[in-house]
């Protein structure tokens, strides 16, 4: 069965419904006590409470601000580094090893340092998010640029492209699929980093809320926070991919699927 006749949303909705249903059943059958393994209905109720009290909006807004600024900063940094190491072989050789070394440091371990350097404010959390977001963008942009066919570069140079114009007109457009993949990965790694930063030295934010609920042993609120973070990440990912598709009509010509 190819499933071509079904509407596009049928498959994903069925998977999500089945997943939620099995989880709900597991929770209701008390495989674990419900307060240790809250089913989605409990999480939803907790979410509604948090919404009603206004703390959900406050937490989401706080996290959203940090997340957005951190991702933007991290993506710009990763893009700049990727263009540098991707298009200049000696830059790749000299800086690449160091960047790979830094890339493997778990950002959880950097949070205490960031608190010491930037204080307990927003800057620290934005910096950690940017750090987490920059590396996947850097690595993907570098890989994409290195893989650009020589003939496109030659053709463009004969037609008058050079320097940053060449990078923009050929390398970045050609490796759009890598740019998109890098940013999508950074949406996830940036979120990890932000949550790590919010687990200490924060007084609002979704990461803070999950950790705080854990300390209060409110597992339904913990679960609600976790689900909300995942849902927001997924939403932003879809919005991002769809906007690339619509704003850049040629994207399908360089990438079969984004």
């Amino acid at each position: 069965m190819s499933g071509d006749k079904l509407p596009a949303w049928a498959g994903p909705s069925a998977t999500a419904a089945l997943f939620a249903l099995s989880w709900e059943c597991l929770g209701r059958w008390q495989t674990y006590p419900a307060h240790l393994f809250p089913p989605p209905s409990e999480a939803a109720r907790a979410l509604a409470d948090m919404w009603a009290s206004g703390e959900l909006l406050r937490d989401a807004a706080a996290s959203g601000r940090r997340w957005f600024s951190g991702l933007l900063l991290g993506n710009l940094l990763g893009l700049a580094l990727g263009v540098l190491t991707g298009s200049i072989p000696w830059a790749r050789r000299s800086v690449g090893l160091l960047l790979n070394f830094l890339r493997t440091i778990p950002f959880l371990l950097l949070v205490p340092f960031a608190m010491l350097w930037f204080g307990l404010g927003e800057l620290e959390k934005i910096a950690i998010t940017a750090w987490g977001a920059a590396f996947p963008v850097w690595l993907n942009v570098q890989t994409g640029i290195v893989g650009v066919e020589q003939e496109y570069v030659w053709a463009a140079r004969c037609l008058g492209a050079s320097g940053l114009r060449l990078v923009w007109e050929v390398h970045l457009k050609r490796c759009l699929a890598y740019l998109v993949a890098g940013t999508r990965l950074s949406i996830a790694t940036g979120t990890f980093a932000l949550v790590a930063a919010e687990m200490s030295g924060a007084f609002e934010g979704l990461g803070f809320r999950v950790f705080y609920s854990y300390q209060m042993f409110q597992t339904d609120r913990m679960m609600a926070g976790v689900l909300l973070i995942a849902f927001l990440g997924l939403t932003f990912d879809r919005v991002f991919v769809e906007s690339v598709r619509r704003l850049l009509p040629w994207s399908r010509k360089v990438a079969d699927e984004l």
Partner: protein, 261 residues
């Protein structure tokens, strides 16, 4: 020597690939000139360094020995004075047909209006007006190669370098492309260096044909084609041209035999 330098000159050019025991001598002591507005064909067996010569002229490679001069100045890299038509069309897949043809003019800073006029003119010349908004992947191989030709001409270079542009096309499409190239070239006469291994193609297109030897590539002999233009492939049946074709073929086979022994 004439007072004005030739459009393109190879002076004692030699080039190798690799180093040490893996060194392959691709070209050795190559000397020739391409005159202004001349259509020159380089004809040689595969692996004789024809494409290397073209890449040297384009500035994609720098020669290990000797020098390549354009209008008397040494080639140090690619430039807009030399347009290239590649064997595989190498159109930008992210640009439409119009975007590909207008790429050079856009980078030169032409206004949208000027650009559209240029694109329109070349689309008409290659007969692909209704395909302006299509992407290269939506075209047949022959159409893509026509766009590749238009893209190079639209940038208005002094010299056109063509690297077996029709080699990957089927026989009939190749004939059409040769006719198209002749008609476009006769309208915008430019200096052309055209690499091929097809003797009839060279006879039809060239003012002059250079025969290259097999590795290392060197210029073996030279033939002048005085056939008046516009030309037709039916003239190739002419007795004089048939003899010329025989001479060229025997020159080519002798270099192959020399390599084999």
């Amino acid at each position: 020597m004439s007072s004005s330098p030739s459009a393109l000159a190879f002076q004692g050019v030699g080039h190798d690939y690799g180093e040490g025991p893996r060194l392959v001598r691709a070209l050795d002591r190559v000397d020739f000139e391409v005159h202004h507005r001349e259509f020159l064909c380089l004809l040689g067996p595969s692996g004789c360094g024809k494409s290397t010569l073209l890449h040297l002229a384009a500035g994609f490679l720098l020669p290990r020995r000797g020098a390549v001069l354009v209008d008397g100045a040494e080639v140090l890299g690619p430039g807009v004075d030399r347009g290239v038509v590649f064997q595989q069309h190498s159109l930008f897949p992210w640009e439409t047909v119009a975007g590909n043809i207008g790429f050079g003019p856009r980078l030169k800073g032409f206004s949208r209006k000027e650009r559209e006029a240029i694109v329109e003119r070349y689309l008409a010349e290659i007969g692909l007006r209704e395909f302006a908004a299509r992407y290269p992947s939506e075209l047949s191989f022959g159409m893509r190669q026509r766009v590749g030709l238009a893209r190079a001409f639209a940038n208005d270079p002094e010299i056109l370098l063509m690297d077996e542009p029709f080699a990957s096309l089927d026989a009939l499409t190749r004939l059409q492309m040769q006719e198209l190239l002749m008609s476009v070239w006769e309208r915008h006469t430019k200096t052309v260096m055209f690499v091929t291994h097809d003797v009839e193609e060279a006879l039809l297109l060239a003012d002059r044909i250079l025969i290259l030897s097999a590795r290392p590539g060197r210029v073996l002999s030279e033939f002048r084609i005085t056939l008046p233009r516009p030309r037709s492939r039916f003239q190739l049946a002419d007795r004089h041209l048939t003899e010329l074709k025989g001479e060229i073929l025997s020159a080519l086979t002798s270099t192959l035999r020399r390599e084999a022994s």
